[in-house]
C-alpha cells in the first residue's frame, strides 16, 4: 500500500519525501478536524446529564 503510493509520487527522492510529509499532515488534519469530532460523541465521555437532553 505505502510502497504503491511511494512509487506513484512524482519527482526524485526528496520531492517524494516532501510530498509524503504533506500527505501525512493532510490526513492528520482531516482526522482531527472532521473524523474524530464525529467519532468522539459515540464514546461515553459525553454523557454527563441525567436525562439525556
Amino acid at each position: 500500500m505505502y510502497g504503491w503510493i511511494w512509487r506513484h509520487l512524482p519527482g526524485n527522492v526528496w520531492l517524494k519525501a516532501l510530498l509524503s510529509i504533506v500527505l501525512t499532515l493532510a490526513v492528520v488534519y482531516v482526522l482531527f478536524q472532521y473524523v474524530f469530532p464525529w467519532a468522539e460523541p459515540l464514546l461515553p465521555f459525553n454523557d454527563v446529564t441525567v436525562n439525556d437532553q
Partner: protein, 228 residues
C-alpha cells in the same frame, strides 16, 4: 504471499497509528479546544457585562433575590461559576442547555430548571473527563463547600449540603425543584451539579446539592468564599 503479508502488516500499523492519534485527540486535543472555547465564552460574557448600564445599587447585603432575569438564550453563556474547592483559579462559563455541542464550550444549565438565584433548582451539568476536564475533581466536593456564580449583576453564593451522591442516568428526579434524595423538604433556592461516574464511563451520575446562601450585587465586591 509476500504481498499479502506486507499489506496486512501495513494495515495493522495504520490502524495502530489511527488509535494512537484518536487517543491523543480525546485526551489532549479536546482539552486544548475546550480551553480556547471557554476563554472565548468568558470574553463574550465580560464584553456583554461591560456594555451593561450601571444600575442603581439596592441595599447591600440583602438576601432578597433580584428580579427574574430574561430567559437565557440557548447555547449562549450567561454566568461564570467559581468553586474554590476545585482550585482557587477554577472558573468556568455556564451556558444554556445541555446539548453535546453546548457542553463542549463550558458547563451546561439544564433548560427548564430554575434560573440563577431564583426559587427552584438551578441545575448544571459538566464534563468530568475530556473537553478541559471541568469536573475532574467532582468527588472532592463536600458539604459546606461554596459554589459561587455571577451573572454580571450579582454574586450568588451557594453552599453544598449533600456531597457526591451516585445515581443512575435515568434518575431525572435529582434535578426536580425539591429533589427527593437531597434531604430538602421545602421549596427553596437550590443548586444541583451533575457529572458522569465512573471517571471515564457513563454507567452512573454523580450529583451534589446545595442551597443559596447569599446574593449580593457585584458592586459590593467579591463574596467571602472567593477572597484569599
Amino acid at each position: 504471499m509476500r504481498v499479502i503479508v506486507r499489506t496486512v502488516s501495513e494495515l495493522c500499523i495504520t490502524v495502530g497509528t489511527l488509535i494512537v492519534l484518536f487517543v491523543v485527540y480525546v485526551l489532549f486535543w479536546t482539552g486544548v479546544k475546550a480551553d480556547t472555547e471557554m476563554d472565548r465564552q468568558v470574553d463574550l460574557l465580560q464584553d456583554q457585562w461591560a456594555r451593561q448600564p450601571v444600575r442603581p445599587t439596592s441595599a447591600a447585603g440583602t438576601t432578597a433575590s433580584p428580579k427574574p432575569p430574561a430567559p437565557y438564550k440557548d447555547a449562549k453563556p450567561f454566568a461564570l461559576m467559581y468553586i474554590p474547592r476545585l482550585g482557587f483559579t477554577w472558573n468556568k462559563p455556564v451556558l444554556e442547555g445541555t446539548r453535546t455541542s453546548t457542553l463542549k464550550k463550558g458547563l451546561g444549565h439544564y433548560a427548564n430548571t430554575a434560573q440563577l438565584g431564583q426559587k427552584g433548582n438551578f441545575a448544571v451539568a459538566g464534563h468530568r473527563r475530556t473537553y478541559g476536564d471541568p469536573f475532574k475533581d467532582f468527588p472532592k466536593l463536600r458539604a459546606g463547600d461554596a459554589v459561587v456564580l455571577t451573572d454580571g449583576a450579582h454574586w450568588y453564593t451557594y453552599v453544598i449540603d449533600k456531597g457526591p451522591y451516585r445515581t443512575l442516568p435515568a434518575d431525572v428526579q435529582v434535578i426536580d425543584p425539591v429533589p427527593k434524595k437531597s434531604g430538602y423538604t421545602r421549596a427553596g433556592r437550590y443548586l444541583t451539579l451533575t457529572t458522569c461516574d465512573p471517571e471515564w464511563g457513563h454507567s452512573h451520575r454523580l450529583i451534589v446539592w446545595g442551597h443559596l446562601e447569599s446574593t449580593k450585587p457585584v458592586e459590593s465586591g467579591k463574596p467571602e468564599a472567593l477572597r484569599r
